[in-house]
Symmetry: C2
Subunit: 457 residues, 2 copies
């Protein structure tokens, strides 16, 4: 308890304490994640097949289930130093407000212009593309955090960046678009006339406001159709989890410095990039039988991939052009409705996290939107930081766990991931402030329609 | 040079290294800033007179020209710890890009939800109001950073906060408004029907989009008309400079840790809050004859207060309801046109800085808007951070100085203040990205019209 008092509001690691290697949790998994399958042959995708779309080094990382540590290239560490190590914050003000005996920490990834943790993988993917001698990369973006992060990374490396932004986001979030343009990215509203698939969709659905699935298809076509370009993705893939493990490694290093051992680790879950990155090194300890932790994935009730989905092989995109991944899924045709947590509106879940959840190594819960914004507002007022709606899902669960501790008197240590800031989400905050926000939980029939689209393998 | 290599990308002080007292540069000034005058009697304003509008403790600080150090109350330090100490960044990437022998550092104040340094004074002013047993405070906001900062501080202290937001900003920056509302502030577009002065202006100018001067008048009327309320202000006043001295004190402590002595210190200048805070402790050394530094104030060419203004007694607001301050001024009737750096569009300048400039202890230069955004975009791409347009004025001057070093081969150490982020200024960035931004320099005749309104004393 004497040492307890020494814990500062923010634990910053020194730059030389920043991890030198990413941690690949797959190496410690007994049940490995199932391989990606070629949808035509139903055989595992080979490195050659994946290399048409993705950079060579990233394909290697995607397929690597054995090496526990993969060295972070020096150039990437240099870039990381512009905004990392990120602070691990002791939420003293929140604890005081809640009058809970729980000790609450959060790892804050929002202190960079992209506004989220996405930059950790963006710079890695851009670096490997540059290193392969490529001219540029293409991607899609919905909420816009990934597109912004990739634009920043490409500006730094002088790499061309082409972002297909879902048309409704392009129009509703013009400021996100301008951030990407300021970083030199070419931003195209999707569907567009610039690709075959875009023109086809526009012909079939004139006036459509687009979808993530369509934007993925356009970005892939754009990359494969141009010499010296590859496609990159900000979540779902195992390589992304690998890069994001820096979040968990730093969190663990900071806690270790003060001899703190968490009981519960909480992350919001869309495609899994933040959650997987945060829990990886702790999950490694659990898998190796060294220590036990409670892991909680928090997802929106409007898009309940883990809590109500199926564990099956499915397409990663709505357009059904990607390989098949074995994962928890609501069906690639499931359209999540009216949720403002744009970054969590994904029908599937990273295969590693899916396997861990299937094996009972991790819990999941879903929370409703208004209760998420209630938590976000309270957190902003007490801790100062205005959270992204996605991040606020984790805050909601952390508050709930802290209040349980208040009832039971348990002094649990809770760590959650605060993935980013909500500066570009003020439209949603405005709806909440005006009392105009509602909740939505899909019916069993609606989910069944999504499940019916899952390929029968 | 061996030690030089050890300097990290970001110098973070430990929490216990955070200053325990603000530094009051007035104590070391031979020529003190001239006192505020009562516009009716032309006698110096007394503490009693000021106490009608401002909190008692803040009046004491406003009038204190003698005490060099004023202890920061423990409650304020606790709040500071949520986002301070702020990093002093070594701009390695920028130096590399410019291929300059100059060593560039910037003190980054944007890592908090208010997005700027304004929070340093907002929490202090809110704390003293709370401590005096007040119910709430009123203020005005233009660009919105001050209003946001005050809302955050009041939410933390559970103090009522009423912000009069210039109507055109209220409508053009709805997201700024929503941030303030999320922190529980009552935000009223000004002019409004809620005050006498507001109703009068609306009657005389139906459909007006408001002005800062009008918003100040409404905020003052609102505060003085309600039991338990006072008016607070985010710049211009000497008390604000005092609170903002934490920027300079931390900067100096961080540099001292590595034995670095700056040659040039640069800050953007609107009302003077950031510039004064950043340079204060260094200016103290210069005033005491201990060390010499080159100080550069950077202002927009569209609102050239120091570079083309008069040093005279003038009103602090357009409505001419405030005391008279002796300062550089363009005349309280001067309307700065079409500049997007909203925070720098002020006709006057803090009296301390005005006196220092008049005494030749500080330089000033003005820069044009498009060259400021050019610097901002370049900085964003190289250093990652998307700067506020206000902050980018300092970047512009720092780049110019660094390029001079490249020509002469001098290895000067340049420090500038990066006051905040530009997330809520993407409309302006968009205009720049679209090539639609233009420059504006007022003619001598336009300036003369402003000077003609300065009271003859």
């Amino acid at each position: 308890m004497a040492e307890e008092k020494q814990i500062p509001y923010k634990i910053y690691l020194e730059e030389q304490e920043m991890p030198e290697a990413w941690y690949n949790v797959r190496a410690d998994m007994k049940n490995k994640p199932a391989p990606l399958l070629n949808p035509e042959t139903l055989e595992p995708m080979t490195a050659e097949e994946l290399g048409v779309v993705f950079c060579d080094e990233l394909v290697k990382q995607e397929l690597d289930n054995e090496n526990p540590y993969i060295k972070i290239p020096e150039e990437i560490r240099s870039f990381y130093k512009m905004y990392r190590p990120s602070p691990l914050v002791r939420a003293y003000c929140l604890e005081e407000k809640l009058q809970t005996p729980a000790k609450i920490y959060y790892k804050f990834e929002g202190n960079n212009t992209s506004g989220s943790h996405k930059l950790n993988s963006a710079i890695a993917q851009a670096y490997y593309a540059k290193n392969q001698g490529l001219k540029g990369v293409t991607t899609e973006t919905g909420a816009g955090q990934w597109g912004t992060a990739l634009s920043m990374a490409c500006a730094y490396l002088n790499l061309d960046c082409r972002v297909f932004m879902v048309k409704c986001s392009y129009e509703q979030k013009p400021f996100r678009r301008e951030v990407m343009r300021t970083y030199g990215a070419q931003v195209t509203p999707s569907p567009s006339e610039t690709t075959e698939v875009g023109r086809k969709i526009l012909k079939e659905h004139p006036g459509t406001s687009g979808s993530l699935g369509c934007a993925i298809s356009e970005a892939v076509e754009c990359a494969t159709g141009m010499e010296g370009y590859r496609y990159v993705l900000g979540s779902v893939l195992n390589q992304v989890l690998l890069h994001q493990s820096i979040i968990g490694l730093e969190t663990k290093a900071a806690l270790d410095k003060y001899g703190v051992v968490p009981d519960i680790i909480i992350g919001c879950a869309g495609g899994g990039s933040n959650l997987g990155g945060l829990i990886s090194p702790f999950m490694g300890e659990k898998l190796r039988g060294e220590r036990d932790y409670q892991f909680i994935a928090v997802e929106p009730a409007s898009c309940p991939t883990l809590t109500r989905g199926k564990f099956a092989y499915d397409f990663c995109d709505t357009g059904m052009v990607t390989p098949l991944a074995k994962m928890y899924t609501l069906g690639s045709g499931f359209i999540p409705s009216a949720s403002h947590a744009g970054g969590l509106r994904y029908h599937g879940m990273n295969p590693v996290l899916s396997q861990l959840y299937a094996d009972g190594l991790m819990e999941a819960r879903s929370v409703e939107q208004t209760s998420v914004f209630e938590a976000a507002q309270m957190f902003a007022r007490v801790e100062g930081i205005l959270p992204a709606p996605e991040s606020a899902h984790a805050i909601r669960a952390a508050l709930d766990e802290a209040m349980k501790c208040k009832e039971t008197g348990e002094e649990k240590t809770i760590v959650f991931g605060l993935t980013g800031t909500g500066y570009f989400d003020m439209f949603a905050y405005g709806r909440y402030n005006d009392g105009e926000m509602s909740d939505y939980i899909p019916t069993d029939a609606e989910l069944q329609a999504g499940f019916d689209g899952i390929p029968k393998i």
